[in-house]
């Protein structure tokens, strides 16, 4: 039996003053130019990401979750509103932001090692430091035996680990994850979630995860934002209150069920709306 006091709490804007990234009145309209059909995809969104928090976003298909991430990363310009990262207005991709996509973004022409060191070599980092960071990231993601393999020789989960390692070595302060485990099976997703939590703890980075999977959001995050059907706005924020040192075993915690149930309660209505029905 889930007690009322076990239910997660709601807080729309964190009181914490350590704001790492902030979206203020952000909207995004596709085709907002003089010609073309307009599609109001997102907003208005107000959101503060606390420094070092693990924030997940769930929402129905097509609600603008990925657009939100693109706007935050500086990959897309908001139609209205302002995005700041570390106090500076975002114009283009800021330094210190890393992103992992759902699609396979490993460079097929490079070995695992060369993939992971790609960004460091471009940054002109000293060879010894590059080697140290790459060795660490490859070991951390369990890819040591495959360092000289090409992506085509790896499974989908391993290729995604290559992309995470490639992001990790650059030591980003804000890591944006766009459904990175969307194409993986359930067991692999749970284990990848553990690795992600380990990475988050070690790097102390702020993480924003977009996911369709409510259990993944509930298991990984400090806070989950629930978005409405298009145009996506936040309709609920759920604080999970998990300890920082956690892993996939928390799925057996009673509160995990309560959090997932609350997320689904909010999301069900929005998902029905996005499918054009209210049943």
């Amino acid at each position: 039996m889930i007690r009322a006091e076990d239910a997660p709490t709601t807080r729309f804007i964190p009181a914490d003053t350590q704001v790492h990234a902030r979206l203020t009145g952000v909207t995004h309209v596709y085709g907002a130019g003089p010609s073309g059909a307009r599609l109001h995809a997102l907003g208005p969104i107000d959101l503060d990401l606390k420094r070092g928090e693990f924030f997940a976003v769930v929402g129905p298909s097509g609600c603008g979750k990925s657009t939100l991430l693109d706007v935050l990363a500086g990959l897309a310009k908001p139609t209205d509103g302002e995005v700041t990262f570390e106090g500076h207005r975002v114009r283009g991709v800021p330094d210190g932001v890393g992103m992992v996509f759902q699609e396979d973004a490993a460079f097929s022409w490079l070995t695992v090692r060369d993939n992971v060191s790609f960004g460091l070599r471009r940054a002109g980092l000293e060879a010894a430091e590059t080697a140290r960071r790459v060795d660490y990231a490859i070991g951390f993601m369990g890819l040591r035996d495959f360092a000289h393999a090409y992506p085509a020789q790896l499974s989908g989960g391993m290729r995604q680990r290559v992309c995470i390692a490639r992001t990790l070595v650059l030591q980003p302060r804000l890591i944006l994850l766009d459904e990175p485990f969307g194409a993986l099976d359930q067991q692999t997703r749970l284990l990848m979630g553990d690795e992600l939590l380990r990475l988050w703890r070690e790097t102390k980075a702020t993480v924003m995860l977009i996911t369709h999977a409510l259990d993944e959001a509930a298991m990984l995050s400090d806070r989950v934002g629930v978005m409405s059907a298009r145009p996506g706005v936040f309709i609920d924020f759920v604080e999970t209150d998990w300890p920082r040192a956690r892993d996939s075993r928390i799925v057996s915690d009673l509160r995990f069920g309560a959090i997932t149930a609350r997320l689904w309660d909010k999301l069900r209505i929005e998902s029905l709306k996005s499918m054009g029905t209210t049943a």
Partner: protein, 249 residues
Amino acid sequence: MTREGWIRLSVVLAFCVAVEALCRFGAIPHTVFIAPSEMVISMLDILRSGELNADILFTLRNVLFSSAIAVGLGFALGALIHSLPRARGAVEPLLASYYSIPTFMFYPVFIVVFGVGSQAIIAIAVLLSIVAMIASTLTGLDRIPSVLRKTARIFRMSPLARAVLIDLPAASPYLFTGVKLSFAYAFIGVIASEFILSGAGIGYSIAYAYNNFNNQRMYGLMLLVIIVATAANTALDTIDRRLQARLRR
């Protein structure tokens, strides 16, 4: 070698043995076709004597020049067309129907413009092979996953760095298919043009031998062309398969 490879080799050998037998027993007249063993001997004689070395080099040089021009120019035009979607919409149907036009019919134009010799041969070979490279470039650039372009932006790469470090290697399996096809078309273009546009080269030597009823030399040279074309194609195909293997996921 694979099982299929052995079967393929057996079929070729069986064909050669059958033709050899038919020629030896007079079923095929010597004026029409000579035995494969005689072709081999003739080819070796040509190579050993060095008599046609200048012609062989002339042809190979023209093939290399034509391929290089077709690949370089084809890639540049393909990239330009790719960057102009409206122009592409207008040009693409023409490219699709390009190979229905018999390019060789333009040879009088090339003789008028370039005269008889290497330039006219190279022009025809380039005309024949360039569209394969343009089409492959368009396919290659189309197939670059959009997530790689997003990744390049996350790495804050300049357009030039993205083109060199992401776009080019990502498209290279398709681009190399264009290189392979361009080489094959250039080879055909050069040999065929030499029959009508040249006083030198392997194609010219084959025509000369034919006109002088020298079947031994004609078939020896034909065998040489087949061996060179097959060897070049096998080498390019090996590289092509390695590049394509990267895409298999």
